[in-house]
Symmetry: C2
Subunit: 295 residues, 2 copies
């Protein structure tokens, strides 16, 4: 299948399911509205689609992985809401519209993030029990996500990002920030798809390698887009990294070197899954799509 068509159809599957989890009648209303505002506003759905793409590689039925794919997108959305807060990155726009706290206020935005993170674990455990997903595999997938989103993952990366602003940092620190702040959840998406499938430890190793490469590539591309793209294309303010004196790959190793690294990482990612040949075509094209994206 053509990647664009694949992305579109999988995005629809994920968004339909997310809508079901957050119906109109949910109470308290303001909390539900705030969550829906950020969760159901489009976005590329990179992470949940990656879960589905890995499931496809191993012929795993979607009902097994869909709750986990949705949970990961909910966690991703919580990190965006909290990152945008005045106390953090203080961003006014995201995906072309006002950030959550600009509409609902800081308190509700904090709580919407807390709720999304909590409900992600509710959905994973509840749906695993309801759908008869092998409980041990479900626990492993829950662990995978929690581990990569906590102190040794997303939150740790975000902390280092914030305390490194306005400071010169070395290559090791910028790599730590990128692999944790952004890479960890992308890696978790890929690994969860593999953990919930009939896979060997070699399969997991290959996919882990692929996930690490595209995870880092993804954030480097984000850094590049912050310099080279526009508000119209990106839906948020560009040049924000330089303004906030954020450390990025371009600021640490330069723009040209960052683009070379992006290319190398994409090639490495494709190599990591070459074992599967044509069966992994979607994942291969996905790596290229992430490298060439405009937003």
């Amino acid at each position: 299948m053509n990647l664009n068509r694949y992305l579109k159809s999988r995005k629809e599957i994920v968004e339909e399911e997310l809508k079901k989890y957050f119906p109109e009648e949910l109470y308290p209303e303001v909390l539900a509205n705030s969550i829906r505002y950020s969760l159901l506003d489009g976005g590329k759905r990179v992470r949940p689609v990656l879960v589905l793409a890995v499931a496809d590689l191993f012929n795993t039925p979607y009902e097994k992985v869909l709750p986990f794919a949705c949970a990961i997108e909910m966690i991703h959305t919580y990190t965006l809401i909290h990152d945008d807060l005045p106390a953090m990155d203080n961003d006014d726009y995201r995906r072309g519209k006002l950030t959550n706290h600009k509409v609902y206020g800081d308190a509700i935005a904090i709580l919407a993030g807390d709720a999304l993170l909590t409900e992600a674990f509710r959905i994973m455990s509840e749906e695993s029990l309801a759908k008869g997903i092998e409980p041990k595999k479900a626990l492993k997938a829950i662990y995978e996500i929690a581990f990569r989103c906590g102190i040794s993952g997303v939150v740790g990366g975000q902390v280092m990002d914030i305390i490194s602003e306005n400071r010169d940092i070395d290559m090791a620190t910028i790599e730590y920030i990128h692999t944790h702040k952004t890479g960890a959840l992308i890696l978790a998406s890929i690994r969860v798809g593999a953990i919930l499938s009939r896979t060997t430890s070699k399969d997991i190793d290959r996919l882990t390698n692929y996930g690490k490469k595209i995870g880092l590539a993804f954030q480097i591309m984000d850094d590049i887009l912050d310099i080279e793209s526009s508000f119209e294309k990106l839906g948020k303010k560009t040049g924000a990294d330089i303004e906030k004196k954020k450390n990025t790959y371009p600021s640490v190793i330069g723009l040209r070197e960052s683009k070379e690294l992006l290319n190398d990482l994409t090639e490495d990612a494709i190599d990591a899954i070459s074992f599967y040949g044509e069966r992994a075509k979607i994942l291969k094209d996905f790596a290229i799509y992430l490298r060439d994206r405009q937003n």
Copy 2:
């Protein structure tokens, strides 16, 4: 065993375990320090001790429930850190010392809360796998906690609490706030102890009933202490509810009626577990201790 001695010994077990989860060498350092500052600062440890007390009632070994008891205390601590933020209740003191954000700043406080919530789920899933806890029971316990901490639980209650400030609300709303904001996690503690034990559905019903009563009683006592106690006893500013025009049981039904209700709920809680006779002495004494506490 005498309740005071029981509380002291169980508190020690929980605190030893919490310390192990957050060792000195954890990275990033500022995040680990911020977490330890709030998590390892004493507190009554009501929730994890309740988990252990229910486990004791059913002769369940501690290693089965301890990770869940710790996870619940971590979640409780995250809610305190986020509630104290300037965007929320804007409190400067908690347990006799500065609140987390007053020491570490708002950004790190938000992230410390996020990390505690995430790591709670990491520990529950990781320890269940490592200790061979029956995976299905572990999933049920994880679901129980996530469900009672999310939109239909703690976060929902906190949202209603915040949007009800400065507004006259009815009895149903104040009950909603109290049973969700505070009651839900206390109920989860008791139910998780029962879910992880060899229990029948009748056992679960009895404990659920007990948990609902002491959960509501706990928050009513908090409201009363905010009026009748002092900074020295409570470790935080008193009279804060009136100042913030918070809706509380005393403000809605009066102080005398609140005390009567507190007594009734405590009696109901004790009745709910009368089936177990002397075996449930600790839980019975616990209900009385919560009613008579000075902080």
